[in-house]
Symmetry: C2
Subunit: 367 residues, 2 copies
DNA sequence: ATGAAAGCGCTAACAT
DNA sequence: ATGTTAGCGCTTTCAT
């Protein structure tokens, strides 16, 4: 072992810092304390005197300091990586979904990984691979969160999964959703309030749990209003425009045709409008049409659709935040349990609903 | 100065590494070289012997190594922050846009900042603020890149701006786009090839430069085919469904009504289909309808639209990559100049086009 | 063509 | 309650 008795002359080395953004050290100097204390203040830890904390905070705002994300996650030892899975990305849903995720991810400095797939079956191996690659958690919009295998897999993997929307096996994973039952109930009640009695309903894809809930909400509102439910008026759809057309054709060919149709999503409602127009029914004067989701379609077509707005963006943002929270909790040894959170929806009234026409009322009354 | 003649007993300290992901040092050991050489290989730098490079690459794939992003940007000294501006986000456009950006950002480890705004006027102060906050560059989809003030501002700010789509003041900023003229030309030629002669055209929003180019493409194809252009057949729209309906009503009320209508985007084309259906025209047998963009609308409605597909996702990904490249070039003192890149489009043939019916041909021939 | 050393800005672990 | 030290994994700078 060679022991030097004279230190080598330390060469001056050009600093590598190009931008002059203040660092934690600058703040420490300004606040006359150590960088560590500044770090504690930044991270809201305890064990800092109020006075010191104040000085640090002042220094921070004086220097306009903001922590360097890269350094943070490097020193912190781990990075938050969140996988955004999506299959069947209805574009309008997807954009809201992505914007919400992106905003929150920026806030908490999470790294987003988008992963599109054609089906739940295809998603399975992808998810396994991502989990092995060290993904902190998955965000699952429908219909992925309606797939039992997907949910089982996340459990096997020990991965965090948060659904954006209702999903199978609730309780096994976190979720942010609206109350689909109540929303459909409200919409139906709104239509009843307009004076309609014969109200058609188009069910969504039977494999998604939201579909059943919306149907039940419709049924419950009818019952509450003392309206005899008629099986003729309830038609199966699959959330697609095409399925909406077929359903509308059935509904509008009925001897006593409905004066209103409530479709389980906007694409199907748009199809109802198209079919109605083709047989020269005016919307909303001859027939009221309501949708669900408030996707771009709802406000693109004419007349614009009365529909239910889900706060997709907010739901996704919260899902990202939740993964951050849960990951941190796990790291500190806790075992946080999955929580479902219900967010408020809005009934957006636009141009596609109205009171039933006199003629229609009479016809139904007479028939 | 105190000179120690004996090294202090170095305490063992628990490693802070929690995950066991391989590091550059692991690779170096495996490849029997220094971390520096590995770094060079990773970054595709020169001055590495082919043999060495091969060993390193083998080690990398053997260990399944992937570089730590945080460490990279920390050591690299600066972070790539890219602002995604959007105003009037047609949802289907937006989702493609975001997915493309997200994918590439993940690849080059850029931080994305989404910024939505209601208008170009509103965008101006936001952009100024972002630039002051140290944004590396802006990505501007239409109609923001059609606004002279926005472009001027980026210039004043000395910021990098990349348009996704054609924009005003070309040459002043980078852009990734398709050849709108040629695409419209091709589509028109396709319609002519089907046998149509009376072909209506609906112009897009006059404030977007794409609108003019598409119109010119239509005109050129007509001329090339020796078809006399008729002013009656060219109607102004604004890219919205509503404007498409108004235009379609005009076009379909013509004495000699067109046997085909080419709308400058899908929303307007969808409106044409709706109007046609209302007057019991079959699409495509009574009238051919074509769109542009291949947004979700095109494949949602029935019949699905024949349209032009722009590779939005790819365009945005390239825009992100370009900002990375330009930023790096600037840092090393170069002054890279803005480049426009034309990407290939596709004519997607679906169900909304057909040869003109005999009746229609005769009528037009007779009239 | 390759490597050693010195940080990048921050935090975990260990003092005090 | 606060400070010290030693990294996190990588790249830059400088030396060979």
């Amino acid at each position: 072992m060679s022991i030097r008795t004279t230190s080598p002359a330390p060469r001056k080395r050009a600093s590598r810092r190009s931008n002059t953004a203040p660092t934690i050290a600058d703040v420490a100097r300004e606040a006359q304390c150590s960088p560590m204390t500044v770090s504690r203040v930044i991270n809201g830890e305890g064990n800092v005197r109020e006075e010191t904390r104040g000085q640090v905070q002042q220094a921070i705002s004086k220097l306009n300091y903001s922590p360097n994300r890269a350094a943070r996650s490097l020193a912190g030892g781990e990075q938050l990586r969140i996988a955004l899975m999506f299959d069947n990305p209805s574009a309008s849903y997807l954009s809201e979904f992505l914007v919400g995720a992106l905003e929150e991810a920026g806030r908490i400095d999470a790294h987003l990984e988008v992963q599109s797939c054609e089906s739940a079956t295809e998603a399975l191996p992808l998810m396994r691979k991502l989990a092995e690659g060290g993904i902190s958690g998955f965000i699952l919009p429908p219909p992925l969160c309606d797939d039992q295998r997907v949910l089982d897999l996340t459990k096997d993997l020990g991965a965090i999964a948060i659904a954006v929307g209702p999903g199978k096996a609730e309780g096994s994973h976190g979720a942010f959703m609206i109350d689909d039952f109540q929303a459909a109930y409200d919409m139906t009640q709104h239509i009843i309030g307009l004076g309609h009695v014969r109200i058609g309903f188009i069910i969504g894809n039977p494999e998604q749990v939201a579909s059943g809930r919306r149907l039940n909400g419709y049924r419950a509102a009818l019952e509450k209003a003392g309206i005899e439910p008629s099986d003729d008026l309830i038609v199966q759809g699959r959330f697609t425009y095409r399925s909406g057309m077929a359903a509308a054709e059935k509904l509008l060919a009925l001897d006593q045709r409905p004066t209103a149709i409530f479709a389980s999503n906007d694409d199907m409602a748009a199809a109802v409008v198209a079919v109605a127009h083709r047989i020269h029914l005016d919307v909303p004067n001859d027939i009221t049409v309501c949708g669900f989701d408030d996707t771009a379609m709802a406000s693109t077509i004419w007349p614009e659709l009365t529909t239910i707005r889900q706060p997709i963006r907010e739901m996704t943002a919260k899902a990202v935040a939740a993964i951050g929270r849960i990951t941190r909790a796990r790291r500190s040894g806790e075992k946080p349990k999955a929580e479902q959170t219900i967010l408020p929806y809005t009934l957006v009234r636009r141009e596609s609903d109205a009171a039933p026409s006199l003629a229609a009322s009479k016809r139904n009354g007479a028939g």
